[in-house]
């Protein structure tokens, strides 16, 4: 098989530093050699390839932007984006794992945690020795997490948690859950360790999407945790939303990875599949599809590239992240669907990556703020008229 050489129609490569290219190449090789050969089997069986966790840790893909003193690589945000892009070229579930671990677990511990929490958890999470999850969504509160029902109560030097979370990536396998709950009416973050009495994390079954990722419920019934397990710096709903900004940034990059994989598959297939004595790539309709895909990939790449540079200067705005997530996931899904049509019947087979990416992207479209919610966030910003509070 030919190695994937990237999709780069506008020489965006030339905008990367030597170090950023090296990071991208390392993850690209890792995905080609270790993810792609095994991912279809995991997808089919509905299992997460947990043997990759330590390898990702060794390569430095978990919490890559955090300081070296916690065992992290201390890379810039461009590199973080490139990592996510390459991981998602393999499968959205691998990227989801890395996003959750880096943006939704390590980031809040680093940002809102005590020194003791950071020293204890960050090195383990960076190496992959420990896995984390992020519990915000509840059965009745998805797009409006502010309404959450999960409560924390202070009692004799401990916190007691009650409530339930749903749709939590890595939940069942996590050693530590970053759980958002209301304490005296205000959203705060808590660290709940696996095995704590009153805490269970049953896996949710029956997904048609992100099948190689573990998705779980988190159930708290009079779950007592030590007082020092509150994230002291967390205060209000804006704390989990800050985490989501980290993860959404990575998703905007990741979606381009899926899109590139689908475009690459469609292009190769179209050139070799002959109908009416011609490769189907010679027909104008097929060319139109391929041109659309490549154009949207190129635009999406430039969007995240500039977003990355802004983020590295600390100048990015949340609405820009919303726009990049909204656009890139949307076009990735369109590209996956078009690629599916180019492959004809073969498009539905797991011999090709296209249908898997397409099904995965349906989750990506919804999580971390649905497409509609990002529309309304940007809409509120440009009109000054919020559609919801």
């Amino acid at each position: 098989m030919v190695q994937f050489g990237g999709v780069d129609y506008f020489n965006i490569e030339s905008l990367l530093s030597a170090e950023e290219k090296l990071v991208r190449d390392t993850v690209r090789d890792f995905v080609s050699n270790e993810v792609i050969p095994i991912i279809e089997k995991h997808y089919r069986e509905g299992t997460f390839p947990s043997h990759l966790i330590r390898k990702m840790g060794e390569l430095g893909l978990l919490g890559p932007t955090l300081p070296a003193k916690y065992g992290c690589a201390e890379m810039n945000n461009m590199s973080y984006g490139l990592i996510m892009q390459e991981l998602e070229r393999g499968d959205s579930s691998i990227r989801s794992f890395a996003s959750v671990q880096s943006g939704l677990v390590m980031y809040p511990i680093f940002t809102f945690g005590s020194e003791a929490q950071k020293d204890h958890w960050l090195p383990k999470l960076a190496s992959g020795e420990a896995v984390g999850c992020f519990g915000l969504t509840e059965p009745d509160f998805g797009s409006n997490p502010g309404g959450m029902k999960t409560r924390a109560e202070k009692k004799e030097g401990r916190y007691v948690l009650n409530g339930a979370k749903m749709w939590i990536t890595n939940g069942t396998v996590a050693d530590v859950a970053v759980v958002w709950a209301k304490l005296d009416g205000k959203v705060r973050g808590f660290l709940v360790e696996k095995g704590t009495k009153g805490f269970t994390a049953p896996e949710m079954k029956g997904k048609h999407s992100l099948r190689a990722s573990v998705t779980s419920e988190l159930v708290f019934q009079d779950c007592e945790i030590p007082e020092e397990n509150i994230l002291p710096g967390s205060s209000g709903l804006k704390s989990p939303l800050m985490c989501l900004d980290q993860a959404r940034y990575g998703i905007a990059w990741g979606a381009m990875g899926s899109a590139m994989a689908c475009y690459d598959a469609a292009l190769n297939y179209a050139k070799s599949r002959v109908q009416f004595d011609k490769p189907i790539a010679a027909f104008q309709i097929t060319q139109e599809k391929l041109v659309y895909m490549l154009t949207e990939i190129t635009k999406g790449q430039l969007l995240v590239h500039q977003l990355g540079r802004l983020k590295d200067q600390g100048k990015q705005k949340a609405v820009q992240i919303s726009m990049a997530k909204r656009n890139n996931v949307h076009v990735a899904l369109e590209i996956a669907r078009l690629a599916r049509t180019v492959l004809g019947a073969n498009g539905i087979l797991d011999e090709y990556p296209v249908m898997r990416h397409m099904a995965n992207l349906e989750s990506v479209y919804t999580y971390e703020g649905t497409h509609d919610i990002h529309t309304l966030i940007i809409g509120a910003d440009i009109t000054g008229l919020p559609a919801f509070n």
Partner: protein, 250 residues
């Protein structure tokens, strides 16, 4: 152990090579350059010996400024420092070997590693030429290395037509690495960051004249489509005749 690895920069295996305007060189304008794949086995071998015996790994690359990139990538995999021998003239295997040999002659190297060949010009010559110029024993196309630091020797297994040959060399020596020698590690993110602060010394190249001159370069003729002679055994005699008379392979 004092270990040296000579690393080269070559066009990406994915690149569609175009012959330049002069008809003698490759058009380098649109090609992506990478670390020569065989050199990765050489690097991994050196790093494993360093892990086992301690010491130091130094990378050496002769070429234009872009060669610093392959030194950086090598340093990201591990090792200690780089030497960039700056030269802009293309040269041939002989002049490249002469330049490297002159830079390495007083290095005190225990082992100098190469990839068995660079995948651009495919001469498979530089490593063994350097050994010859420095008067060192060499083993090429090596798939296994057993080093004994105390006894100052290495035992190498090398690929020969239809089998394997085991050779013993005294140190210092030159080894050229073949695929299968090991599984080269990925440059980790921490390795990439660490490489930024590892020193790369730039030196000028010793004067060396090539002994050969490229007078023409062309791409192979486009592949012809296959010919179907028949679909059952009646086609066999004609197939045999054509293989014998036309293709001259039997």
């Amino acid at each position: 152990m004092k270990l040296f690895v000579c690393v080269n920069q070559v066009p990406d295996t994915e690149t569609k090579v175009k012959v330049g305007q002069d008809g003698k060189t490759i058009d380098r304008s649109e090609i992506n350059l990478i670390l020569n794949p065989y050199d990765e086995f050489a690097i991994e071998a050196a790093l494993q010996l360093k892990d086992k015996f301690g010491g130091e790994v130094t990378y050496v690359s002769a070429g234009g400024d872009s060669h610093k990139e392959v030194i950086r990538k090598s340093l990201a995999m591990g090792g200690d420092k780089g030497i960039h021998i700056k030269t802009d003239s293309a040269g041939d295997s002989y002049s490249t070997a002469a330049i490297l040999a002159s830079a390495l002659k007083d290095s005190g190297a225990d082992i100098i590693f190469f990839g068995k060949q660079s995948i651009d010009y495919d001469d498979s010559a530089v490593g063994t030429m350097v050994a010859e110029m420095l008067g060192l024993p060499s083993a090429s196309v090596v798939v296994k290395i057993d080093a004994d630091e105390g006894a100052k020797k290495v035992i190498c297994e090398r690929e020969v037509e239809g089998g394997k040959e085991t050779v013993e060399l005294s140190l210092p020596c030159v080894i050229t690495a073949q695929k299968g020698l090991n599984e080269p590690r990925y440059p980790s993110l921490k390795g990439i960051m660490a490489a930024k602060s590892k020193p790369i010394q730039e030196i000028s190249a010793a004067p060396a004249e090539p002994l050969t001159e490229v007078i023409g370069m062309r791409k192979p003729a486009a592949k012809q489509g296959g010919r179907i002679l028949g679909t059952d055994k009646s086609a066999v005699p004609e197939l045999v005749r054509l293989l014998h008379e036309e293709a001259k392979v039997i």
